[in-house]
Symmetry: none
Subunit: 341 residues, 5 copies
C-alpha cells in the first residue's frame, strides 16, 4: 500500500506524531534575528584572552552571550557542589525539590542566569535533558566534609566536559594549605588540556589551611592574592569570596597603609580585587557564601556591581530558598548586574 | 601618583579605555530573557539522536537554536567550499568582496542563518573575529577541479574543529565512485572521534563515478539511496541535491512503479528522501546547486519546505550575488522555512 | 514546609509523576525467577569456545539465553542491512513502516528472536530506546549496489559496538573476490580487538568474484569451504547461504563422489556444513535469501533444523511482510527451531 | 693554584682566550636600541593570522622583522632544495663554492634576506654555525629527478624543525597530480602539529600532472587556484610561480573574460593572485624560476612589487651566480621590495 | 561591478584599509642591514653549549642578540613573578599601572632589555600582542608567601612555552630545602624535554631551608655552590643572588682560607661565582633582590660587571619605580653592561 505521499502524508504524520516528521506547527510570525549580536563589551572582554584559541573564546562568548545578562559583560552563575561539600541533607533538605538534579538546571534556565556549574554526577543526571539550554561548567575536583585534608579529589576529566557538552571546567585551589602546590599542579595539567580542546577554565580560589587565620581566609590582602594566583595559573574566570577589610599579612598590611589603598567599602575592595586580576583583564565572580537574608544578598550584589566585579556565583542562597523566592531574588540580582538595580 | 580608587577610578578608567576595566556603558533596559527557550520541535529532533552524548546534542541544539530559524527545526546554512572545488575566480570574481573570508562569516550572521560551513584556511582566517557569533561546521575533506579522481583529500581534523570552536565536522562521500569505500572508512573514523568529543557530523552525499550515468547522479532512487547511506554511516545532518524524477537503477525502478511511490513533484520527492532517512529521524538539507535566478531558488525552497525537508544549504547562490541582493534572497528563503513564505 | 517523608511522600509523588520516585506499582505476584537457568545445551555450546574470555562467553550466552529459543541452543536472528546493500526503496517501500529504525528493534523483540543485527546508523537510531531489550550485533562493514568492487567498507568499530551495548560485531567476507585477503585481514584485526573486550564475532561468509561461477556461489563444496574459512578466521557464529547440490571445484567434486558424501537433500547438506565447522563446534545460521513465499521459507527452516543447523538469520523475508504476517511467520519458524515445528 | 682574581684575572683571561670569560672587548659606543620596534605593517599582517597561537605569530614576526626588509611586510627568501630536485652538478657546478652548505647560510645573511629555506641535510650541516643568525624554513618534503611520480617524499619532521631552530616548515604540493590528495593529507597532519608547537607553515604550490598542459602549469587561472588551495590548507606563507596570461580551464576562462579580470600585465596578475589568497590576508612569495638574466629578474621583481606581491623566493638565480654578483643582484631586489627600487 | 584591477585597486585599497592589501606606505630610505651580525662574543658563548641542538642555541642567540646589549654577551632581564611570590599589592600597589601585564612587556621592550620572564597567566595575557617583540622566558614553577613548604608548584609546561613563543623555560630550585631533590628531579625532566624541542633552560638557584642559616642563604660558599649545582643540572642560564663575604659551611671555609680565594669585594665574589660555573662557560645573571635606592643598584651592577658577571635580572627594582624612573635606571644599568658605565 505504501504511505500517502506529499502534503497529505506530512499532515497526517504530524497529527499522528509519526516519528521523525518535521513539525508543521504554528507559523513563526515576523520577528528579528533572535540571536543577539555580539556587543562591544563582550568583544573587548574576549580580546583580553589573547593567547587562547577561537574554541576557548567561543565558549567564553557562549557564557557571556547567554541569559538575561547576555552582552553586558557581567555574569550570574548557579553552582551546585554543596552536596559534595556538605552532604545532601545540609544542602537540600530545606527545599526538598532541590534533591533532583533537574531542579537546578531548570532554576538556572528560568532565572536567565549565565551558566550552571556542577559536579560529574549532577551534570550527567541532566546534561541530556538540558543539552544546549544553558552553558555548563563541569567542576572537576571536589572536597567533602568527611575528609580532614584541605584538599580536593579530582572527580572528572576534560573528556567528561566534552562529552557532556560543557563550556568550561571548574577547579578549586586552596592557597595556603599543605596541598596547595599539588592542587596547582593538577589544574596546570587540566587547564593546558582544556585550552587545547577549546574549553574555558574557571578557578575557585579559596585560601585556607597552613598558617592562615580563620579571619585571614577572607582578608583583603589574602583575597586579592588568591584571585591573582588564579589569574597567574591561567584561569579565564576566577571565583573568590567577597573580601573583608581585615588584613592578614603584616608585610601586606604595611603596603596597604603606605599606598593608602582604599578598602573601606565593599565596592572599593571589589575594585581592588579586579585590579589585582591583571588590571581587570580577567573575569572575577564573587560567591554568595553562607545563606543570608535577601537584603544582605542584594546589598552585597550592589556593592560588587559598583566595584566593577564581573558578577555573582550564588549557590546555597539560590537553591535553599523555595523556587519562587529564589527566582524573585535572582531577578533582582540579575537586574543589578544588568545596570537596572 | 597611583590610580584613583573606587568609583572615581572606574569611571575615569572607562573613559580612558583603561585595559580590563568592565564597561560602565549605557544601562540595559528592561527586556525579557534574551536566550530563547528550547522549543518542542527542537526537543523532538534532539530525541532522535538517542545514542549521542550530551555534548553532541548541545552542538546540534546550538545550530537548531541559532539565527532567524532558531527553534523551528528547520535550517538554512551557508557553505563556502567553492574556492577549493572550482578555484577562486569561478567562485568569487563575480562578487569580489567575497574573496575575503570575513565576508562570508558576516553574511551568514547578518542573514540570520543557522550555521556557516567552510574549509580549514577560510575558517582559521575568521574564527577568532567571529568566535561565538554563529555555529560553524568545519569541512574536513575537499576536492578540487584539477583532480581527476572522484575522491577528496582529508584537509582538516577533529582537533582543528575543537580548537576553532566548531560545532560539527562536515565530510563528503561520493557513493558509486571507486574511492567510495575509502571515503566511507575515513568518515567512519573521523565521525567516531568527533562524536566522542561532543561534535556533530554532517555528511555531504554526492553520488558520482563508477557506472552511474550523469542523469543518474540526481536520480530519485540514487538520491534517496545516497541520503540513506549517509544516515547509515551515522550522520546527524545529511546534505544531498534535490532529486529529479529520473530513476537510474532498473531494480529500483520496478519497486518505485510497483509500490506507486509518488515522485511526480519536487515536494513529493523531498518527502521520499526524508522518509529514506530513518522515516524522517535525521535532518536533511538540500543544496542550492549551480547559480540560478531568484524565482528558481525561491520556488525550489518552497517545494523543499512543503516536502518536509529540513532546509537549504546554499553557497554559490548566496555569495555570487551582491551582498544586498543576497541578504534579500536569504530573507525570503528563511521566511519560507520559518513558515511565512 | 518540606515534603512529606517516607511512604506517604512516595505515594503522593507517584501520583504526581514526581521525577525519580521508584514505582510503587501492583505487587509482583507468584511467579518464578524470570531469568531462566542456563541449560545443558547452552553450557555445552559455551564449552566449545574454550579459548575465549568469560566476557565473550557471557555475550554468547546472552544471545543463546534470549527470546523464545532461550536455552535451546538454536537461534533466529533479524538482520537489517538491506538499506545499505540495495537502497531504501528496494528494502522498505513494500512495507513503509520499516523505514523507521525502531520498527525493526520492536519486531525482533515482539517475535521473541535471539538477536537483532544492523549497521551503525540504524543501531544508533534505536540503541537507547531498546537498551537491554534484545541482544544486538553491530554489522561493522557494508557494501552497496552502487559499488562495483566485490568489497565492503568498514563502517563501524569495536568502540561503536561497546558504546551501543552490542553483544557482537558482524563482518562480511567475500571468499574468492579480489579483495578477499584484505577483508580477511580487516576482520582479523577487528576480531582480535572485539574478543579482547569481551565481544563475540559473527562472520557473514559469501563466496563471490574471482573465478567463481554464479551457480558456484551457493555450491555445496564452496558453501562448506566458505563456512570453514569463517570458522578458521575465529568466528563464533557463522552465516552462510543454504547450499545447493551443485559442486563447483573439480578437485572437490572428486572427493565428494569418492567419499560418497550425502548432499542429496538440504538437510544432508546442512549437516555437512555443520560438520565442516569444526564437527559442529561452531554456531552456523543460514540466511533466508531473496523474498519467497511462506511455504518455501518454512520448508527450508525445517530442513535446516533437521540437518542440525543452528538457525536462521532472516531479514527481507521478515520486514518486507506486513508486521502481523511477519510475526506469524516468525512464530512458525521459531516453533520449528524450538522443536515444536 | 687558582686563577688570578679581580680585574687582573679578567684582563689576562681575555687576552688568553681563557674559556668562558666574557669578552671585555671594544666598548660599545652610544647607539639606539638595536632591535627594531614592530612596525604597523607587521602588526597588521600578524592580525590576519587570528587563529594562530603566539608561538606561531612570534615565528612569523621573526621572519618579517629580519634582514634588510625587516618591518616592511615584504620578504625575500633564499631556498636551496635544488640539489634534491635536480642533483648536485646541475645545481652547484656552475658556482662550485655552493656545494658547501655554509655558503648558502652566509649568502642569505650577507644579502640581508628575510629567511633561508632548505632540506634536512643542508640544514643540519649549518644550523649550529649559523644558529640565531637568520630565520630558517625546513623543507619537510622533497622530490628528485630520478623519480617519475609527481610526488615528493616526506624527508623531515616537525621535531627536526624544532631541534634545528627553524621558524617554519615548508612543504610542496602538486595540485593536479595523481598524488595531490595524498600530499594534501600529509601537509594537513604536519601543519596541525607545526602550529601546535608554534611553528609557521609555508606551502609551495606547484600545479602539475593529471590533465594539466605544460603551459597550464603557470596559467593565470591555475596559479591563482594553486595559491588559493595552499591558503585553504592553512598555509601562513604561500609560494607560487609568477603566472602567465594563459588561461587553462575553459570554465575559468569564461569567468575571467566575463568579469573582465585584468591579467594583461604581470603586476595585474600578481595582484589577482594576492586577491585569491583571502583578499590579501596571506603572505605570497613568488619564485624566480629557471635561471635568467639580471634584467629579467629585476624587471619581474618590480612587477611583483607593483602588484602587491609579498616578495620573492629566489634560489637558482642566487646561488648559480658568483657570490659578488649574487649579492649585487639581491641588493637590487631587496631595494625594490624595500620601496627604493 | 567588480574591484578595480592593477595599481588603481591597490592604491584605493590601501587608502580604504581594505583587508589584507600590503601597505604601500612611506618608502624605506637607505639604511644598513637592520639585523645585527652575530658578534664574536656571542659566537664564543654559543660554543660553550656544545651539546645543545641548534634550536636551543638559536633561542640563546635570540636572547643574546636582542635589545641594547645585543651582541655584547651580557644580559639584563626583567622578571615578573613577584605577584605569585608576594601577592599583587606588595608587588604592584606602589606603581599601579604595573597591575596590567602589558605594562611589563612594554617596559622591557622600551628599556631595550634582553628578555622578559614571567609566569603562565601574565605571559598568556600579553604573548599575542607582543609576539616577536622581545624574547620571553616562561617561569614554569612558582612559590607563594601563603605556603610554608620551601617548595614551588609546577605551574606551566614545555608545551605552554612553545605555544606562547617563549625562548626558554625558567625554574627555581631551593638547594638545602627538604624538597630540593624533588625540585631537581622536576627540572631534570622538564629540562630534558625543553632541550629536545630547542628551548633554553634558566635555573633560579636560591638556597634555603634545611640546616641553612638565614645569613647562609647568601653566603659566598653557598652561593657558588648553588650556582654550580644549577650548572650541573644542565642550566644554560643561571640566576643567583649576589653573595656576601660570609662563609656558611666550616669545611668550605677552611678551603677558602687555605686557597686564599679572594672574596673581599663584590666583584671578586662575582668572579668566583662565574668561575664556579664551569670556569665561566655558563651565563650567570644576578638578581637585584629587595627594592633599594638607585645608587645601591647601580653600584651593585658595576661590581657585577667588573667581576665578569653576565648581567642582571631585575624585577621589583624596575617595576616598583614609576615608568620614567625605571627606564632611566635601566638605561644606566644597560649602559654599565654595555661597557659604557
Amino acid at each position: 500500500m505504501g504511505v500517502p505521499s506529499g502534503k497529505a502524508r506530512i499532515e497526517k504524520a504530524a497529527l499522528l506524531g509519526y516519528p521523525g516528521v518535521p513539525f508543521v506547527g504554528p507559523r513563526r510570525t515576523d520577528r528579528e534575528t533572535r540571536t543577539m549580536q555580539m556587543t562591544p563589551q563582550v568583544r573587548k572582554i574576549l580580546s583580553w584572552y589573547e593567547s587562547d584559541n577561537p574554541g576557548t573564546k567561543a565558549n567564553l562568548a557562549r557564557i557571556l552571550m547567554h541569559g538575561k545578562l547576555a552582552g553586558t559583560g557581567r555574569l550570574v552563575i548557579l553552582p551546585v557542589d554543596q552536596g559534595f561539600e556538605h552532604g545532601p541533607a545540609r544542602s537540600f533538605a530545606v527545599n526538598a525539590p532541590a534533591y533532583d538534579p533537574h531542579y537546578h538546571f531548570q532554576l538556572a534556565i528560568d532565572a536567565g542566569l549565565s551558566a550552571y556549574a556542577s559536579v560529574l554526577g549532577m551534570m550527567e543526571a541532566g546534561a541530556d535533558t538540558f543539552a544546549g539550554q544553558i552553558p555548563t561548567i563541569l567542576k572537576v575536583n571536589s572536597s567533602n566534609s568527611l575528609a580532614s585534608a584541605k584538599d580536593q579529589a579530582v572527580t572528572a576529566s576534560v573528556g567528561d566536559a566534552l562529552r557532556l557538552g560543557c563550556s568550561a571546567i571548574g577547579f578549586t585551589i586552596y592557597p595556603g594549605s599543605d596541598d596547595a602546590f599539588a592542587m596547582m599542579e593538577e589544574i596546570r595539567e587540566l587547564a593546558e588540556e582544556a585550552k587545547s580542546v577549546g574549553l574555558a577554565v574557571v578557578i575557585w580560589s579559596y585560601p585556607r589551611g597552613g598558617t592562615l587565620s580563620k579571619e585571614g581566609e577572607t582578608a583583603m590582602d589574602i583575597c586579592a592574592y588568591a584571585a591573582h594566583m588564579a589569574a597567574l595559573l591561567g584561569a579565564h574566570i576566577i571565583k573568590v569570596k567577597p573580601p573583608t577589610s581585615f588584613l592578614e599579612q603584616p608585610e601586606a598590611k604595611k603596603v596597604y597603609e603606605k599606598e593608602k589603598i582604599d578598602i573601606s567599602t565593599l565596592s572599593a575592595r571589589i575594585a581592588h580585587v579586579m585590579q589585582s586580576c591583571f588590571a581587570g583583564r580577567r573575569l572575577v565572580v564573587f560567591s554568595g557564601g553562607a545563606a543570608k537574608d535577601l537584603d544582605g544578598i542584594v546589598g552585597e550584589a550592589r556593592e560588587i556591581y559598583k566595584g566593577g566585579g564581573t558578577g555573582l556565583i550564588i549557590g546555597r542562597n539560590s537553591f535553599q530558598r523555595k523556587r519562587e523566592e529564589a527566582l524573585k531574588m535572582l531577578e533582582q540580582i540579575v537586574g543589578i548586574f544588568g545596570g537596572r538595580g
